[in-house]
Symmetry: C2
Subunit: 419 residues, 2 copies
């Protein structure tokens, strides 16, 4: 890795500064500055809405383009489909609840919390049924975790397909969950000695089930009922979902209604025909639960071109690992010939999204932008080609390969592959 | 402080458990459990909305009661008024953007970000005007901070007035900000040697101004453009606001349009006739910027009564300090005769909200619930009476006194004072 001072030099920045804010006060652009400051805009001359107008707030009318997007051709039907988090419009590490990607198999269940129940049964001493109020009588914890679909970046196995990080990497969100450790509920039911596996089941019409090993459930799984402070959103499993930190999103059963305790996995559909990784030789990797270390540059990117000329440029993105924290992120502007240390900013939390920045003086020439994350276990994000060598291209799951954006001189970017 | 095991004993919890979840499977209540599990509810038998239905998500229809509330009689007009965060409905430490309390002086400015400008002028080498895109070319940081209005709990100076923590303590929120250190912008403009004070001005029709000492601006102030990942909400200063960590909310100028650099404070209205603390002797404390260590129990509370009988009870609340982190929170159930150590859970961050819990077996008898926070500087939250002794009752600002909820045998709670 090249050794260098991080960010643009002071000298470079001042020069850039003249092309930036300073320019507005220079002769040519003086009108713009004067207009903004001297001619008062309507929001300074008129009263706005009062505090009774919006009991539950919504984004500015000027942010209507910031939204989840689906891809119509990707699935046969919108009720068993996905939409994507607009990563290129976000910053920091918290995904606001209204923009968390959705994946459902039978549409959004609209569960009445008064009617909701969670049953724990099977290899337990005492089968139990909990109401939501029952859950809230157990000690709670708060954890910020990413949730990534195993199929995130799945279209990219066969080459650069989707033009924008919302679509290539937007099946992820990162929120603060409040919930009860699953261990507390299992302790209450009393596990029988031969208990080894759990089968959580969703309350929607898909009745999603996944086999979860008991060691994970006892370690850090939660039954969560809040996200980012407020009740779970309907599309995220309201009133309660399973949280399985660091593991693939499909296991985080939403609208959870039942947990069966058994002594072996159930081999249901979502862990046999789906969510297994078909290799080139026709064999399938299975129980690939953990999400590997991964990162993506969110700005600039195809949906977020550079809108200014050469000079100071902030490159930013997100990184995460299902195995712990992210220790380092490296950024290259030339397709991997030279790597620079990025600056990680904001809380570095266990199995949570990390925000990184790389600031430099852009000379206006084309860029081949990539980011590469290293996690707390020393795992290094691989190239897509290296992944293909090892796993072939049959699967759509667990693609954590390095993403490349080609940025043109005009600031526009596209999804490309470099070899 | 009494020494004791935290939370209910295992034995106590199992007994409680039978009155909780376990009961549903016992003979008397078997129908409820069977109905919930065997008779499939409509959300399990019908498809829900698809992924194209809600590009920007909203809360469940069953959460319509979770909203900001204003108090009509508190102010003459809703455009110069306040509404309150429903603290009793939240958990964890993040306030979702739609529920952050609002305080405006001329209504919500609806600023077009393309027209927005920030001017820095006065005692600088080079006056500058920044566009929003200019701002985004400076290195950014991410910080989770509480914002508390200096008048939060202000009605309580003269006795228990408002019945619910939303109203007594709801002029606070806690979000992750993404923004540019103000120091970077001031460095770009170049401070003259006699620069000592700043006057940020808001772009709404109130043109809010406050004098901010330069040492604070250079230390940790931000010009923020994101909250909880997405663009600031209009009512929180879209597209950019000042962030003044730990200091009273009135200084966090919204819709910021101008920062004048000077050599002394301006003594404008909001720092003379308002936001100064009139003492009993007629003199006013002024420049009381820092928000003192404070806490409140959010559940149970008047708007969130206990809905179950005796047995395991989770008491929870929030604590914060403008001087650093919260080191400890103590909870009493008997009006201060015995104090118990609460469990702080979730990230403990500088000048950020902290979440605490105190779990115990409620015997069903009346409670006098209080919480008392201690910050990282060793400051201890005082009683309201102690505050009144020192400051009198003329002011409405900076009341960080201990709050008391009287919980009746039926679980209902009310705002009371104990001497």
């Amino acid at each position: 890795m090249e050794s260098e001072k991080r960010g643009p030099s002071r000298r470079g920045f001042l020069t850039g500064g003249l092309a930036m804010g300073g320019a507005a006060m220079a002769a040519g652009a003086a009108q713009a500055g004067e207009k903004a400051i001297l001619e008062l805009p309507p929001w300074t001359t008129q009263l706005g809405d009062g505090v009774d107008a919006r009991p539950y707030g919504t984004p500015s009318q000027f942010e209507a383009h910031v939204r989840r997007r689906n891809v119509a051709w990707l699935t046969a039907d919108p009720v068993s489909s996905v939409n994507f988090t607009p990563l290129h419009e976000l910053d920091g590490i918290i995904t606001p609840n209204g923009l968390c990607f959705e994946r459902h198999h039978s549409g959004i269940a609209e569960v009445d919390p008064a009617e909701w129940r969670l049953m724990i049964h099977g290899l337990v001493e005492k089968p139990l049924v909990f109401t939501l109020e029952d859950l809230k009588r157990f000690p709670r914890v708060n954890r910020i975790h990413f949730l990534e679909c195993a199929a995130n970046s799945g279209m990219e196995w066969r080459g650069a397909q989707l033009n924008g990080c919302q679509f290539t990497h937007g099946m992820i969100h990162n929120v603060m969950y409040t919930g009860v450790p699953l261990k507390a509920l299992l302790d209450e039911a009393g596990l029988k000695p031969n208990a080894k596996w759990l089968l959580p089941e969703g309350g929607d019409a898909a009745a999603m089930t996944r086999s979860v090993p008991l060691f994970k459930a006892l370690d850090d799984c939660l039954i969560a009922f809040k996200m980012n402070g407020e009740a779970l959103r309907p599309e995220q499993g309201y009133p309660a979902r399973l949280v399985v930190p660091g593991w693939e999103g499909n296991m985080w059963v939403k609208w959870i209604r039942r947990i069966e305790v058994g002594d072996q996995p159930w081999h249901h559909r979502e862990e046999t025909s789906k969510y297994t990784d078909l290799m080139a030789n026709g064999q399938a990797r299975r129980f690939t639960w953990e999400m590997d270390v991964k990162s993506v540059i969110t700005n600039p990117s195809p949906q977020a071109p550079i809108v200014h000329g050469p000079g100071p440029l902030v490159v930013t993105g997100v990184a995460w690992s299902g195995r712990g924290t992210v220790r380092e992120v490296h950024v290259t502007t030339d397709g991997g010939n030279n790597w620079h240390q990025a600056r990680i900013d904001g809380p570095s939390l266990d199995r949570s999204m990390h925000r990184f920045y790389y600031e430099f003086d852009w000379d206006g020439k084309p860029l081949l932008l990539q980011s590469r994350a290293v996690d707390s276990e020393g795992m290094v994000q691989p190239t897509k080609d290296r992944l293909r060598e090892v796993r072939g291209v049959n699967s759509i799951y667990h693609n954590n390969g390095i993403q490349t954006w080609h940025v043109r001189e005009n600031g526009e970017a596209e999804n490309v592959e470099v070899s």
